[in-house]
Symmetry: C2
Subunit: 420 residues, 2 copies
């Protein structure tokens, strides 16, 4: 059997490679025709898609899915329409391929430029939510990449039904048939085989739990764009506006808890701690936030639980907040350096020097002043749709939109120049 | 013993990490003071450096170094001065850290910008030529990165003597002492240990033979910037200026043979083949180029040797040239796609459409029209010094100068905005 998976994986990757060569020089119009028709077919096939989704929902209890996970898995007519609308949004984004990044003329007359090109073949591994299938396919095709999609077993029938619309659109609009491919088995050995094909696949993007991402990072023989923990901090500086600090903490922690850009840890300057906790405690109680704090925190919030070092390094993804009172900005910076995950950290302050020092010193994908951590998001940053939020520093950092799915090449134009 | 190497590697990496945090916000002036003093001390220590180099040269025969390799290893007073002058050149380059890449204001008033930041800790592995020790240290410090240098055993004494000048400069100018560290053992286990420290080292850059680079790629638990084969093509189109084609072929193949941007394969359109080979044959003979050709090539160059498929995929790094006569541009593009290494390829033509199709279709780091492949080089592209020429598509492609040693972060400035 393992030989079968090997050859299946090799076939997928080879087919993607062939398609990627065609996609690289495809016009925006041809890509838009496919996106447009895909959106139409998704809406037209909504009944079949929802019926396939029902098969997944029927099996969901056997996979032990929580009710929240089942809700994320569920498709309805209006959700399918929203998925199609997201494809239309991708059409409206500028085509990154062919963008002239920079250009200049050398003293010997050579005209040198850098032009944006697709990465080539993307292997995208994700879990549960079936809309990701369509988002990822739309972003990859728009950026001129072939993509191999590997969704979770919980969504297999839904993903197949969604994928059928894309295949149909390829046939009708002439997009290379293997530009978008779905791994149509839940056999994990296929993933391992694909991760070994570094000569055919240009990048792997895993989106899901930490264990998935770590496994992929170890096995992959090609670059990986990782989306790991978001241990995001809100630091309330001594010069903070207290109402603003409470509002930003509330939004960062409570607006949506299960996402990577939600805050997990609150740091408070000791000089503002009495007044700040006085204002924040009722919000924390109203929002049912469990606080795990340092000894000084416990003086202000008697209901808080004592925090351990493990708390400070934990991404709760829940209504839990670790908290520490610090002596000064420097202690806050050290804490973020030690326990943060280089995702998103914000300072609330009206002190210019403190704001600038925080921005310069915190080594995270997004560093903010007087804004909620929840803004670290492709849509909120104005990039349009994103394929994820990278916690890497290499190639792409923070929200990964269309440009982050590209590379560049150097173009040199001359009239016979040779090197002296 | 292996525990000793483990703790040695961990110590190097931890110290580099600490230094990298300080380097990230160091002013250009402080970095320039160190570069300037390093250059001065290299010149001042020239006698000791050359004496240490003599110890390496004495041992060179026991390592089986060729006379060419021994020449590359050798340091003289004037070569030390040239190394110091290269450091001065790095001072003159713009500091990439803090560069505002882009910035804009969102409808909710958030001011969003992307600012260039150092990658962090660079692990640089290289072979023989001792000047690389200084080039790499200068580029890494200028770009705000801490660096761990691991040179070849053949240059150990030379590298230590060069490194002493850098250490002295750090002491005198206040650069963090562990910003630049040399692995002062030839024990290979240390390399393996360092490659496992993905949480401390941000990128590994191996520069050397293919086996080194492949070993590093397999073991590294962090991103790798690879510098692999340069199987570069010169394609002489039917609309080529024949004298220009001969000149570009000569320069691409013969100006320096042992480098990655030298041409290894010549493709000739069948319609121009008779006239082109008529003009090129005497040059190829004068330059002592051994041609390995397809059957049609052999008709024009009777002294050529029949080529095999293996020839077309070979980086000779020598006065050997594989050659194929093709029916049209499309066959040339297919050949480059199949046998090239995505490094540098050039078309010689006066046909506008052919030039543009070549530029658009060839997926190489540098694609050229009417110019020698030898121009794919940081200095020739105007980037200043380079740490290598990347054959990857991810993060950095082609010449890697200061900017390619950086990442970016998102800066968000607000007045209390929260997400709706």
């Amino acid at each position: 059997m393992s030989d079968d998976w090997k050859s299946y994986a090799l076939q997928l990757a080879n087919q993607a490679k062939v398609a990627s060569r065609q996609l690289a020089t495809l016009s925006s119009r041809a890509k838009h025709d496919w996106l447009k028709r895909s959106a139409e077919l998704l809406v037209a096939n909504s009944n079949e898609i929802c019926a396939a989704n029902q098969r997944d929902l029927d099996l969901a209890p056997s996979y032990g899915l929580s009710s929240a996970a089942i809700d994320r898995l569920k498709l309805t007519d209006s959700r399918v329409q929203a998925i199609a609308a997201a494809v239309e949004d991708v059409i409206a984004l500028p085509d990154p391929v062919g963008e002239l990044i920079d250009g200049y003329t050398r003293p010997n007359g050579l005209r040198i430029s850098r032009v944006r090109v697709p990465l080539g073949v993307v292997f995208f591994i994700y879990e549960s939510r079936p809309n990701v299938t369509i988002d990822a396919a739309a972003l990859c095709v728009k950026s001129g990449n072939a993509v191999i999609l590997r969704g979770g077993k919980e969504a297999l029938f839904s993903n197949q039904a969604l994928y059928n619309a894309l295949k149909q659109a390829s046939k009708e609009t002439g997009l290379p048939e293997t530009a978008v491919q779905l791994v149509e088995t839940t056999e994990r050995a296929v993933v391992g085989e694909l991760l070994g094909l570094g000569h055919l696949i240009d990048v792997t993007i895993p989106r899901g739990g930490k264990s998935l991402i770590e496994r992929v990072s170890v096995e992959a023989r090609m670059p990986v764009i990782k989306h790991l923990d978001g241990i995001c901090h809100v630091y309330v500086d001594k010069a903070a506006d207290i109402q603003m600090a409470v509002s930003i903490l509330k939004n960062s922690k409570c607006q949506r808890t299960g996402v990577c850009n939600a805050a997990e840890c609150l740091l408070v300057h000791k000089q503002i701690a009495p007044a700040f906790f006085d204002a924040a405690s009722s919000m924390l109680i109203t929002e049912s936030v469990e606080v795990r704090g340092c000894p000084r925190t416990l003086q202000f919030l008697p209901n808080a639980i004592p925090a351990t070092d493990a708390d400070y390094g934990t991404e709760y993804l829940d209504l839990i907040l670790s908290c520490k009172v610090v002596d000064n900005l420097s202690e806050a910076l050290d804490h973020i350096d030690q326990f943060g995950s280089k995702h998103t950290d914000t300072i609330v302050t009206n002190d210019y020097l403190a704001a600038e020092e925080f921005l310069a010193s915190v080594d995270s994908a997004a560093v903010m002043v007087n804004a909620s951590t929840r803004f670290n998001d492709g849509g909120e940053f104005g990039l349009g749709a994103e394929i994820g939020i990278s916690t890497d520093k290499f190639h792409a950092r923070g929200p990964c939109g269309l440009k982050e799915l590209t590379s560049y090449k150097w173009i040199v134009r001359g009239e016979g120049q040779v090197r002296g």
